[in-house]
């Protein structure tokens, strides 16, 4: 017993020491530190940004020799090699890492002062802006020669590479027309256990989808009236029609899956007797060229919206050791007006370029013609985890 007590004492002492060490912590957005300012100056970023000069950047980039990019998407292995072809002497080290893990790693590298990543290319803008950008751990770069053609709202605070969308899909082998036309249809009994939604605990962009629904609760309320012909009655303790929709799909036995790819397969594989519908990434459409057994398509005419868009952003990491090569790579990834060069791997169905001079992909509609909600990083930051908590609390 005596041993046990002394053990506890030692443990609590250690605890106190560690608490004292951590107290203080981080506060609001910090001013630039002298080291960061010096680095910005040498890298030509922030207020020191100069006009885009391809030849000069290439010369400087060749001296750096390489550039490390952490990418949420494996297509980095496609635009990397074309970049190396165009700019011999600069090697692209592409690393394919999931978005949440990517942020964790950049934070760790900054803390360890072991600066591996030069460029980050990822989803989940609300986290990137609040956890990295606001703390001066990443900086934006917009090549001056394309400033004029990039749509407003996609340049600040960080440059958006493209917009992707998460939408509803159905099996068009079995069903000749979209089986639903409203988000509220999914709460009806006929879709009990027949609607698949990716796990928001695992995939942050589906927290964004839920957040968009809650954010637009007024529209959800109006749409409810249109579908059911009466004013919505909120369940006890539920704030608004957006939350009510989340609650009702959960009560309607929604099926949860771990990846958008699984959703596409579950909905789209051919020879199904009674295929479900699902919410997945628009760009899953490209899977159909890889797997002819997939028969699904996007439902465009859903009220109030067909889906929720989210931005894929690019930034240069604080203290990056290859800033010139990094800038050149970012410019390469933004592509040309035909959706070519470094943008080519993303010039596919379901991705939308932020350049207004790029014609939409064949078979795709223009972003401006689509009925969707754009995810709002500030709203997601402030409400996303609360909405996730609501989801968790009401899982049956």
């Amino acid at each position: 017993m005596k041993n046990f007590i002394s053990f506890l004492l030692v443990l609590s002492l250690l605890l106190l020491i560690s608490l004292a060490a951590w107290a203080g912590g981080q506060e609001e957005r910090a001013a630039l530190s002298p080291e960061t300012d010096a680095w910005l100056k040498s890298a030509g970023l922030g207020e020191y940004t100069e006009d885009f000069d391809e030849a000069a950047l290439y010369e400087a980039g060749k001296k750096e020799g390489e550039v490390n990019i952490y990418s949420y998407s494996s297509r980095v292995f496609k635009f990397g090699p074309t970049f190396e072809e165009k700019y011999p002497g600069i090697k692209v080290n592409g690393f394919d890492i999931d978005s949440p893990e990517l942020v964790t790693k950049v934070l760790a590298e900054q803390e360890a002062q072991n600066y591996v990543a030069d460029v980050i290319f990822l989803k989940d803008p609300s986290t990137v802006i609040h956890e990295l950008y606001d703390r001066n751990l990443v900086f934006g770069y917009v090549p001056s020669d394309i400033k004029g053609v990039i749509l407003k709202g996609f340049q600040k605070p960080l440059l958006v590479h493209h917009t992707s969308m998460d939408v509803l899909i159905y099996n068009d082998e079995k069903m000749s027309a979209p089986p639903i036309n409203s988000l509220w249809d999914l709460t009806k009994d006929e879709w009990r256990g027949r609607f698949i939604f990716p796990d928001p605990q695992k995939l942050s962009e589906f927290i964004e989808v839920l957040a968009a629904v809650v954010e637009h609760s007024k529209e959800m309320e109006a749409e409810y009236k249109r579908v059911f012909g009466e004013k919505i009655k909120l369940s006890p303790g539920v704030e608004n029609a957006g939350y009510e929709w989340v609650l009702r799909i959960l009560n309607n036995d929604v099926i949860i899956m771990g990846s958008t790819n699984d959703v596409a397969k579950a909905v789209g594989l051919s020879d199904q007797a009674d295929p479900p519908v699902g919410w997945t990434a628009f760009s899953r459409l490209r899977d159909k060229t890889k797997n002819p057994n997939l028969k699904f398509t996007v439902m465009y005419d859903i009220e109030p919206v067909m889906g929720v868009s989210t931005d894929v952003i690019m930034a240069i990491v604080n203290q990056a050791r290859h800033p010139n090569a990094a800038k050149l790579l970012i410019r390469w990834m933004m592509g040309d007006s035909k959706g070519g060069t470094g943008y080519a791997p993303y010039y596919v169905l379901g991705n939308f370029s932020v350049r207004d001079d790029v014609t939409p992909v064949k078979g795709s509609r223009k972003l401006s013609d689509l009925n969707y909600w754009a995810s709002d990083p500030v709203y997601v930051w402030e409400n996303g985890l609360k909405i996730l908590e609501f989801w968790l609390a009401n899982l049956k």
Partner: protein, 604 residues
């Protein structure tokens, strides 16, 4: 007055001498060094975990207006134990974790020990082959069993291609058969029965069968002997396998995720994973405490039982013999059951996984869909984002090299640390110092892999004291593997050290051999053979390790397992399966080589 001072001085001198003598004993020095190492790799992470659950984190500002990052709070504890998410984040996952782990332990031990009895004590045909095959399920990644199950019993619920069951019988299997508790327990039992098999067959084969024969002479029936003599004698082995199986099943992530999430069957480990990747680590840590608490109490109860039973066990060390029980009429049916077991636990998953690597389009198992593109494709095609087949793919070859390097370093370092732990613990038997070393070295076993990895990530990304920031180094990844596997190697070290009589070392001490000489010439050669099983176990474990290292690997240090995870996530079943096959081949090769080395006289 002077006398008094003299006595005090004499006492001081005597005390100093005692201290000097105390410190001169090699096992004391070793214990102190080990304690210092354990402080860094076990205690500090553990304390950090406790501390982190009591402070606000940056992400908490999203959940509460009161959050002040870095300051003290009870928010996380209250949130988990008494809020609207308590039921779904704590209670139901807790119940699911407990019930599945218990179910898995019972079935795995039942299968494993029956098989052990059949192989060691009966005239079952092909016993050698069965014994070798019975270890293989552990080598196959556990999620492969889960995927195999889905291919067989997937029902309409999650859409997609129908499972084989539905294809053959035209009926959709019920949910309880397809997802959740039943399939998780079934597939994990198939994965974990080798633990019980290995431990129980070791116990059975070192047991003197004269004990059973005396029962027979006294007229006891077969089943009576089995119940009253054989079973009590293998109880310690069964209880050890219970601990191993139970704690492993408690911490496993992949299988419950694949088989549980379609029916929202979440376990503590899946909750820990999602909270840590969503950067709400405090919640993950508190849930990890729950796991630690459960495992500790199970181990505690277990020790109480073994402690009581110890007096029963009379394993004769020398001159024993084993007799074989004829199975008689039961021989054919029992053999059929064993063959069936091997088919479903080894052969089927292996065929499935190899077949998957050969399909052009995933989930299409027809013959015309076969290709070797994913093994030796040149890349640049439309498949798999133009990546080359795994045997030509530089990043996979580099990952394979990383995996092998990691497994070797981890098994050697933690293996030797285990021998030292064994020495320190056995020589200092029942002293407080040696007990502390023993208990501390067991602590990592109780922390689930993903939480352990998260701790190391948050700890070693900055400089602490003389230790530079380790993030991004191979050393850090190796360190976490070494620490996590100390419980195995420490156990192995202690058991093998217990078998070495102290008279050997004492004899050489009398003839004037220094400690380093004694250790190199006597202790090491004698113990290494016994410790070798610990080495192999660590090698296999690290080769297949995912959750422990997934947060710590950087692009330069990524391993084969972290690559399979990526490919699986992105839906490239072929690549992920091909890498799994590669892992299985490396593991089997490693085991084969170490066995050859072990046979050649036990030396390195």
């Amino acid at each position: 007055m002077e006398r008094a001072i003299g006595t005090a001085g004499g006492e001081r001198a005597a005390g100093f001498n005692r201290l000097r003598n105390y410190l001169r004993r090699p096992h004391i020095i070793i214990s102190l060094v080990l304690l210092f190492i354990l402080l860094f790799i076990v205690i500090i992470p553990f304390v950090k975990m406790i501390g982190d659950s009591f402070i606000w984190h940056f992400t908490d500002t999203r959940l509460s207006k009161d959050a002040r990052p870095g300051h003290f709070t009870l928010f996380h504890w209250i949130r988990i134990f008494s809020s609207r998410i308590t039921r779904n984040v704590l209670l139901r996952p807790l119940w699911n974790s407990l019930s599945t782990s218990l179910g898995v332990s019972i079935f795995a031990i039942l299968i494993g020990s029956l098989l052990a009895w059949l192989v060691t004590r009966t005239d079952l045909p092909l016993r050698k082959f069965v014994a070798a095959a019975a270890v293989l399920p552990y080598v196959i990644p556990s999620y492969i069993h889960a995927l195999a199950w889905l291919n067989l019993f997937k029902n309409d619920r999650i859409g997609g291609a129908a499972g084989l069951f539905q294809y053959l019988f035209g009926v959709s299997p019920p949910n309880w058969l397809s997802y959740g508790f039943f399939p998780i327990v079934f597939t994990l039992s198939l994965h974990y029965f080798p633990y019980a098999f290995l431990l129980v067959s070791a116990a059975l084969s070192s047991m003197d069968s004269r004990l059973e024969e005396s029962g027979e002479i006294l007229g006891a029936s077969q089943s009576y002997i089995l119940r009253r003599i054989t079973f009590p004698l293998v109880i310690p082995a069964i209880l050890s396998s219970f601990i191993l199986t139970f704690s492993r099943a408690l911490g496993i992530f992949g299988t419950p995720y694949f088989l549980g999430s379609p029916v929202r069957f979440f376990t503590l480990s899946t909750q820990i994973y999602s909270n840590i990747i969503n950067r709400v680590p405090a919640v993950g840590y508190i849930l990890a405490f729950m796991l630690i608490g459960i495992s500790s109490s199970v181990i505690y109860i277990n020790q109480r039982i073994i402690g009581k039973r110890k007096s029963f066990v009379t394993i004769a060390g020398k001159g024993f013999r084993r007799s074989i029980t004829p199975l008689g009429r039961m021989k054919a049916p029992l053999f059929a059951v064993v063959v069936l077991l091997i088919i479903i636990s080894v052969l089927m998953p292996l065929i499935l996984i190899v077949w998957q690597t050969l399909t052009l389009y995933p989930d299409d198992y027809s013959l015309k869909n076969l290709t070797i593109l994913f093994w030796i494709g040149r890349g640049g095609t439309d498949f798999a984002e133009g990546e080359a087949g795994i045997l030509r793919n530089l990043s996979i070859i580099r990952a394979a090299w990383n995996s092998i390097k990691l497994a070797l370093v981890a098994c050697l370092v933690s293996g030797f640390l285990g021998i030292f732990i064994g020495y320190a613990v056995v020589k200092g038997r029942n002293t407080r110092l040696s007990n502390t070393v023993e208990q501390l070295s067991f602590l990592p076993y109780l922390v689930p892999g993903i939480a352990f990895g998260a701790l190391y990530l948050s700890l070693f990304t900055r400089k602490i004291g003389p230790i530079p920031a380790l993030y991004g180094t191979f050393f850090l990844v190796a360190l976490v593997c070494i620490a996590k596997n100390l419980p195995f190697t420490g156990r192995a070290g202690i058991t093998s050290m217990l078998q070495i009589g102290s008279e050997l070392e004492e004899a050489s001490e009398i003839s004037g051999a220094r400690w380093s000489m004694r250790f190199r010439r006597i202790i090491l050669p004698l113990s290494i053979h016994g410790a070798l099983s610990g080495f192999i176990l660590v090698f296999i474990t690290v080769m297949r390790e995912l959750s422990l290292i997934i947060l710590l690997v950087t692009p330069e240090t990524r391993t084969l397992t972290t690559m399979t995870f990526r490919y699986q996530e992105q839906g490239y079943t072929q690549f992920s399966s091909a890498i799994s096959v590669l892992i299985i081949i490396i593991v089997i090769a490693g085991e084969f080589i170490s066995r050859k080395m072990g046979k050649r006289g036990g030396g390195l």
